[in-house]
Subunit: 335 residues, 2 copies
């Protein structure tokens, strides 16, 4: 009798528990399937699974969506596979300048850092800016000073370097003629190497959405270039009244078209579904002018879409039924 009661209570609790869901991306771009070895592909799928499970465990145990997206993005930052934290691309000067941002859909609180060079987890620093400062965005050496003031240890900038990124920089620099003027130099720059920006969006049991994004930016970037990843409204946006979005792609277009916030605005003001809104922005606004990339989007029901207008986007989700889905190219990968 007792056992029966307990079972019923348990079944009841499972039925009643509000849904949780999470999605991630690891960058969008033009990688060809043929260039991805089986080993490397397996490594990507495995790390994406780790990241998703890290966040999903937090959500399942009643944790906040903000904490879930931060922990998830940190797993991706610590992997050399992605262009964020360890494995970040290198600047023209051979260093790493890292950007990250996050946003809470319940109260529109947000935190962002740009151009940090000695912070082990940029997304953790962005989270701390949100929690412990009256500011939303801190940049450069000032942001490092803030990190030190709250006791975050300095890591050596070279700790982010991987052989692959050093080779990429070398290849890109060889294609830049150092003697031409700044303007021509910029115009002749090879197409941006920006596969690998990472991000996460999540819905927690309290019905709150969150989004987080972290990146090393563009290979051989110069002049303190800031892309969309640390810009609230461009690379990251979350509002419980519409959706949460993390973007990856050619950052300049994503800033100009206010991509993350525009998707949420179409949901909020036009009653578009997240699928319609994301398609419209990626294919009707961005693609005609050459803006390439993708987004992950979640709404308060836990629906998830992960569209992109590039040949591929590293992506994955655990939906409200607990089903894991991973993808790199147009079709989903079996897992």
């Amino acid at each position: 009798m007792f056992a029966l009661v307990l079972l019923s209570a348990s079944a009841f609790a499972t039925q009643q528990a509000a849904p949780v869901a999470i999605a991630i991306h690891g960058g969008a771009g033009t990688l060809k399937a043929a260039d991805l070895t089986d080993d490397l592909k397996a490594a990507y799928l495995s790390k994406m699974t780790d990241a998703l499970r890290t966040g999903h465990d937090i959500l399942r145990s009643g944790g906040a969506s903000v904490d879930a997206v931060v922990a998830t993005v940190e797993v991706l930052e610590q992997s050399p596979l992605f262009n964020a934290g360890i494995g970040a691309v290198m600047t023209f000067e051979g260093k790493h300048e890292l950007d990250a941002s996050l946003m809470s859909g319940a109260d529109l609180q947000a935190g962002a850092v740009s151009g940090v060079t000695t912070v082990g987890s940029p997304i953790r620093l962005a989270h701390t800016v949100m929690l412990q400062s009256p500011h939303v965005m801190l940049a450069g050496p000032g942001a490092e000073g803030f990190a030190r003031s709250i006791g975050m240890p300095a890591v050596d900038n070279t700790s982010f370097t991987t052989p692959r990124r050093a080779e990429q920089l070398q290849r890109v620099k060889e294609r830049i003629n150092a003697r031409i003027s700044a303007r021509t130099d910029l115009e002749q720059r090879v197409p941006p190497h920006k596969w690998g920006t990472v991000g996460a969006v999540a819905l927690d049991r309290d019905g709150n959405l969150a989004a987080a994004t972290s990146t090393g930016g563009m290979t051989a970037k110069r002049w303190g270039r800031v892309g969309d990843s640390p810009i609230i409204g461009a690379g990251t946006f979350a509002d419980n009244r519409s959706c949460a979005v993390s973007a990856t792609g050619h950052g300049e277009y994503f800033i100009r078209f206010n991509v993350a916030a525009d998707i949420c605005a179409r949901v909020r003001y036009r009653q578009a579904t997240i699928g319609e809104a994301a398609q419209q922005v990626l294919f009707d606004e961005l693609l005609p002018v050459g803006g390439t990339g993708g987004v992950i989007v979640i709404n308060p029901r836990g629906d998830i879409v992960m569209p992109f207008n590039t040949p591929g986007m590293y992506r994955g989700a655990i939906d409200t039924d607990g089903n894991l889905q991973l993808g790199i190219f147009k079709q989903s990968e079996e897992q």
Copy 2:
């Protein structure tokens, strides 16, 4: 007969000329009318008139709205009365870190710089970033490097200093207990001193909108704090399909609420008037959570609104009929 024909042609040309209009702000805040001497008030009204006429002359002679807002904002940057360029507020360390951005409504091109310290006109540099680089946003020392690479001379950081701003910093620093922890320090900071961010929005004869914003940020700011002024979507946005907006106020709120782009989204997706959209964002979204400030907005018909949820906002406009209007407190000033 000839004279008659010429007169008719002239009248016809005047009638047919597409409308032009321009609006500016010089910051919003809590200044009391009693604190503003007659002399100082006259100086503000005179400089705002200069700035408006500079932009309006460009528009009237068929110039582009982007050129008009840049020239207008530069007049305000060069005046010690406003918190931008000369007269910019000082950081905690007693320096000036300047931010600016602009956007073209015809093609959603944009340019932005943040944390520049040796650039005479931050809005000119933002304009050059838009025209001569493939990037939208450059920050800090990198942005200075870009300025040098295109031949922009370095100015001494002290050239922006005015006695009033040095006194303001002294007062603010006296109220910050240097011995408390970083967190408490931040929380106990006195209300932001941020009167004086400047901006302009304009409509040109081709029907193109533009917006521009420039600021020194917040007195005693630290840690490379970035406010809304250099953030496309937050402090500046322009889209011919809706409107152009330049904002001023407590920057953190304006970033989180994506203020400039949200006003445009409500116009585009909800068919709100610019007056309705700006009122909704300032009074329904920002004010309930303590977000104070104001915006100037123009639409493709040349309608202008300049609402604020603070006691005052330096503001002015020349409308499509050529009428000049100026204001500081709730009611417009006679000119």
